[in-house]
């Protein structure tokens, strides 16, 4: 979807991972925090939007407040503006978005309503009372890659991906690196469907992968179709967005959004008058509440599970998935020994590590 494409572009601007100095903007809410959420698609889409809605429900409990939600607000100004203004008229002062396509309208509204705070996932605009955020999905996909590498008997993994750009490419690369941490000979064959939400193409891709002999299928698309194919074919899979074992018991590990872990403390900070603007938005690690893993299924042995949890702890402690020395599959050095890949390079990632089989 457009929302993600532009996240990539956004961050292309955020060269080198410059992060904003942690200074409070002096933003003050009028009264108590009253958040409301606006979702661009239907909220029970089984993936991205549902993860946001689930975070909203958890926040209602943890913050002990009602957070209303409105769904199916398309990504254009004429739809977004009235929805937001209706909430503001009703006294809501924290507006939670859901899409890249909200970026420009939120920027405009944030300037019009300086006393309202806007938070938008996968957005690309930021300001004194507007912050975009996205997760470092390569961390969780690395861990699921480990699970995939551990259960694969052939060492041949498949991956069904949406569109070929930075934030999808980094999940493919991280998946391969994770698998190779367990099985150095593991390969990942990735197919890009060119669509986020097309189960027909996803099934075609997954079946073509099975014909090539893969025995675990990972994914970065919006529907659980690849997991369902894995189940039908008697092999395993790993999911994205949410815990896809709900759809298919073939699913052994999922990279899941945990937005409530970010939004909860963020709303509390806002309420305390300590909101910190970030010129390039928030790029959240597992520790900060971007993604985490739902792991593991029965096919992963206890020993392997322990290894995965150990690696998760290492990432929490600061280990970077794309740490040098790291070459791409053509032999070009991408990260020097002792260095890690910068955020700008991540968003612009257009290369693949050794062991990834995909078209250029």
């Amino acid at each position: 979807m457009k929302r993600l494409l532009a996240t990539a572009m956004t961050a292309a601007l955020a060269v080198g991972g410059v992060t904003g100095a942690a200074t409070a903007s002096g933003f003050k809410l009028d009264g108590d925090p009253k958040p409301a959420m606006i979702i661009f698609s239907q909220k029970n889409d089984g993936g991205w939007s549902q993860a946001l809605d689930e975070a909203r429900q958890k926040l209602e409990t943890s913050l002990d407040m009602r957070i209303p939600v409105v769904e199916n607000i398309p990504e254009n100004a004429t739809s977004i503006r009235p929805a937001v203004e209706l909430f503001i008229d009703r006294g809501h002062n924290i507006i939670l978005g859901s899409a890249f396509g909200y970026s420009d309208t939120f920027k405009e509204l944030a300037e019009k309503y300086p006393n309202v705070l806007f938070l938008n996932p996968a957005g690309i605009t930021n300001g004194d009372n507007l912050k975009s955020y996205y997760g470092r999905t390569y961390e969780s996909q690395y861990l699921c890659g480990m699970a995939a590498g551990a259960i694969s008997k052939t060492g041949k993994l498949g991956f069904v991906a949406a569109n070929p750009f930075g934030l999808v490419n980094w999940t493919v690369n991280a998946y391969a690196l994770g698998a190779q941490a367990v099985n150095p000979d593991a390969t990942v064959t990735a197919i890009y469907t060119g669509a986020w939400n097309d189960p027909v193409k996803e099934r075609a891709a997954a079946e073509a992968l099975v014909e090539q002999g893969v025995d675990v299928i990972g994914q970065h698309v919006d529907t659980p179709t690849p997991q369902i194919v894995a189940k039908e074919k008697g092999i395993h899979g790993t999911g994205h967005h949410r815990d896809l074992s709900e759809f298919s018991d073939a699913t052994q590990c999922s990279s899941v959004w945990v937005w409530d872990r970010f939004l909860g403390p963020e709303i509390e900070k806002i309420a305390a008058g300590e909101f910190e603007p970030a010129p390039y938005g928030a790029f959240l690690s597992i520790a900060e509440g971007g993604t985490d893993i739902a792991c593991c299924g029965d096919a992963v042995s206890e020993a392997d599970k322990a290894k995965i949890m150990e690696a998760r702890q290492a990432i929490l402690d600061g280990k970077h998935v794309f740490a040098g020395p790291l070459n791409d599959r053509d032999g070009t050095e991408r990260v020097a020994a002792g260095a890690v890949l910068g955020d700008g390079d991540l968003w612009n990632m257009d290369w693949f590590v050794d062991g990834v089989i995909t078209q250029q």
């Binding site: 027909v200 179709t225 759809f247 078209q359």
Partner: protein, 311 residues
């Protein structure tokens, strides 16, 4: 390499069937002079209804496909009322159907909890020992029932359209409704039947997408295939067999794309993602250059019929 070719060719019919059935449905409708741009909407309706039926009934995929066709036909009653009854502009009415179906399918599926729910759909129907014949077996004799049925459906449709009185009258209604009316043909009845039958076939194509192919429903999952069917009809110049050939061409491309990628063949992926659209474009250009050949575009296509109105 042999395996690659067999896997590829064996997968072509499954990709071609939705295009073929939808294009055939559109041809039948348009032969009567009613332009149906709502294919994407009728396909969505069929896809959603088929998925919902399987989920609710807990199986019976063939019955679900019938329900898919019936649901699209029901929606087509609205389209028929607009275009034939009220003589509303057919282009606008068709586009309206697309938007109506997008909203309606999303609403119903959400309310009923059918979205993103996996189910067991219609499986393959291997034809006994025939499927074990090397090469030919997996390609021709290990398909699903709808693939087998598509061939007789085309025979029947082509026969009725060109070799029977009913077909002759239908074509007369689409070519010259005044003359047909003068000859005693019931224009409204023929157009109504053509719209309903056509939409049922497009709905069946949609049902095929969910019940046979994806075995899951997600919002908007027709994914533009209805529009491609409309392009196919123009490419086929309203001839059923040419439409089938066009559908197979699309099936070839769609079945090839993931297999080339999975085999790690070094074709640029953007080229592959572009391929179906490039083929559509090429086909349209070729058709318009080859205009000299016989096109059977109905002369009265898109024109509402008002008795005694002078043109």
């Amino acid at each position: 390499m042999t395996d690659f070719l067999i896997n590829w060719i064996a997968n072509i019919p499954g990709f071609a069937v939705p295009f073929a059935l939808a294009a055939l449905g559109l041809i039948i409708t348009e032969k009567s002079g009613v332009l149906n741009l709502g294919a994407e909407g009728f396909m969505l309706m069929g896809a959603m209804a088929g998925a919902g039926a399987v989920i609710v009934m807990g199986g019976y995929p063939l019955l679900a496909l019938v329900i898919a066709a019936a649901a699209a036909a029901t929606l087509a009653l609205v389209f028929a009322t607009l275009t034939i009854g009220l003589r509303v502009n057919q282009v606008i009415s068709g586009l309206l159907m697309v938007f109506l179906a997008q909203g309606l399918t999303s609403l119903i599926a959400t309310q009923q909890g059918w979205t993103n729910k996996a189910f067991t759909g219609l499986g393959k129907l291997p034809l006994g020992p025939l499927k074990d014949i090397p090469v030919v077996g997996p390609i021709l004799f290990n398909q699903d029932l709808i693939v087998y049925l598509t061939v007789p459906i085309f025979f029947i449709a082509a026969y009725v359209l060109t070799r029977t009185h009913v077909g002759l009258r239908l074509r007369a209604v689409g070519e010259n409704p005044e003359a047909a009316d003068a000859a005693g043909v019931n224009i409204t009845l023929y157009r109504l039947a053509a719209v309903i039958i056509g939409a049922a076939l497009v709905g069946l194509a949609g049902g095929y997408l969910t019940v046979v192919v994806a075995k899951i429903w997600v919002d908007g999952m027709a994914g533009g295939r209805g529009w491609i069917a409309i392009a196919l009809v123009i490419f086929a110049r309203w001839h059923p067999w040419r439409a089938l050939a066009g559908a197979l061409l699309f099936g070839c491309v769609e079945a090839l794309i993931p297999r080339v990628a999975a085999a790690g063949i070094g074709v640029p992926q953007y080229f592959m993602l572009m391929l179906p659209y490039a083929v559509t474009l090429g086909v349209m250009v070729w058709t318009s250059l080859a205009r000299s050949g016989a096109s059977s575009e109905p002369s009265a296509l898109g024109q509402p019929y008002v008795r005694e109105e002078r043109h």
